[in-house]
């Protein structure tokens, strides 16, 4: 699958630092070298807690290589804002998809899969499967 365009990952959190840190964690755990494109879109444009359509659209544009974009979200307005954007044509790249997954574990699973050349369905499946990693 190498040589083909990779799926992009966008991490949407209420908090800018959370989104950035999860992106960094996923990059660190996903591969020894280069990973698939991943971008954080956390907090409001003003740097507060919340969700920004501008930051989400910019992040999605940044990681879009034409193979689809998987958006992982934390809660509340992050979920609703991405859904509202997907309901409208032209706000997110074609092939953008909200992935139902736990935020941290799903981000790692998605980035590992995307970096290995998995397509959008495979990335989504891996991220969603992260719900099954029981801890107790």
């Amino acid at each position: 699958m190498s040589g083909q365009a990779q799926v992009g990952i966008v991490l949407v959190s209420h908090s800018g630092p959370v989104a950035e840190a999860v992106a960094e964690l996923a990059r660190g755990l996903a591969a020894g070298g280069a990973t698939a494109p991943v971008a954080a879109a956390g907090g409001t444009s003003a740097g507060g807690l919340g969700t920004s359509t501008d930051l989400i659209a910019a992040a999605a544009g940044e990681v879009d290589r034409g193979a689809g974009v998987a958006l992982l979200v934390d809660l509340g307005s992050a979920v609703l804002t991405v859904k509202a954007m997907l309901a409208e044509d032209g706000e997110l790249p074609g092939g953008a998809r909200l992935v139902d997954a736990p935020f941290v574990e799903g981000a790692v699973a998605a980035l590992v899969t995307a970096s290995a050349g998995g397509d959008l369905d495979a990335v989504e499946a891996a991220a969603t499967d992260a719900y099954g990693y029981r801890k107790v």
């Binding site: 969700t51 509340g76 307005s77 609703l80 804002t81 859904k83 954007m85 309901a87």
Partner: protein
Amino acid sequence: MLDTDFFRRWMTATASAVDREADRLTGLDSAIGDADHGSNMRRGFGAVTDVLEKESPGTPGAVLVLAGRQLISTVGGASGPLYGTLLRRTGKALGDAAEVSLDELAEAFGAGVAAVAQLGGAKAGDKTMLDALLPAVEALGESVGAAGDAALAGALATVPLRARKGRASYLGERSIGHEDPGAASAALLVAALAEAAGTGDGGRA
């Protein structure tokens, strides 16, 4: 018939009401939420007023689509995509008509409220904005005043309910005894219809 200017007045009247009631909305939200609903709504509808002045959309549907898009991009909290979806879907359902009847508005608003329910996954009785919006849809075919009354009654009826959606649902039993802030702001939006029609307390025709 309701023309483009009616819909502009509706948005302006909503912005005024939200501005006037922002502290009350935030107070309700500090009881069972994160104390930002008043400021979020004020910022959102302030931006709606600005963009409507700047872009002067030419049809009722275009007014609401533009207002909805603006809310989604400026609010930053869950009320942005929820109210944004409500107005955008209502506007789309109105199409390109230069004027619409009250029945057409009622039908379009019903489509907008259904889109909100789908987006948030809530239903009647979950202590959300839907508890004000669903009764308003039922009454809107009768008159805008009846819709406003129904929305207000619906909002007040959220006091004894237990929240089942959103951040307030984490509080469980402790969400009982407080009016839902989203239902309260939804009642302001619907009451502003009567004001835009010149039949409300504000009386601006």
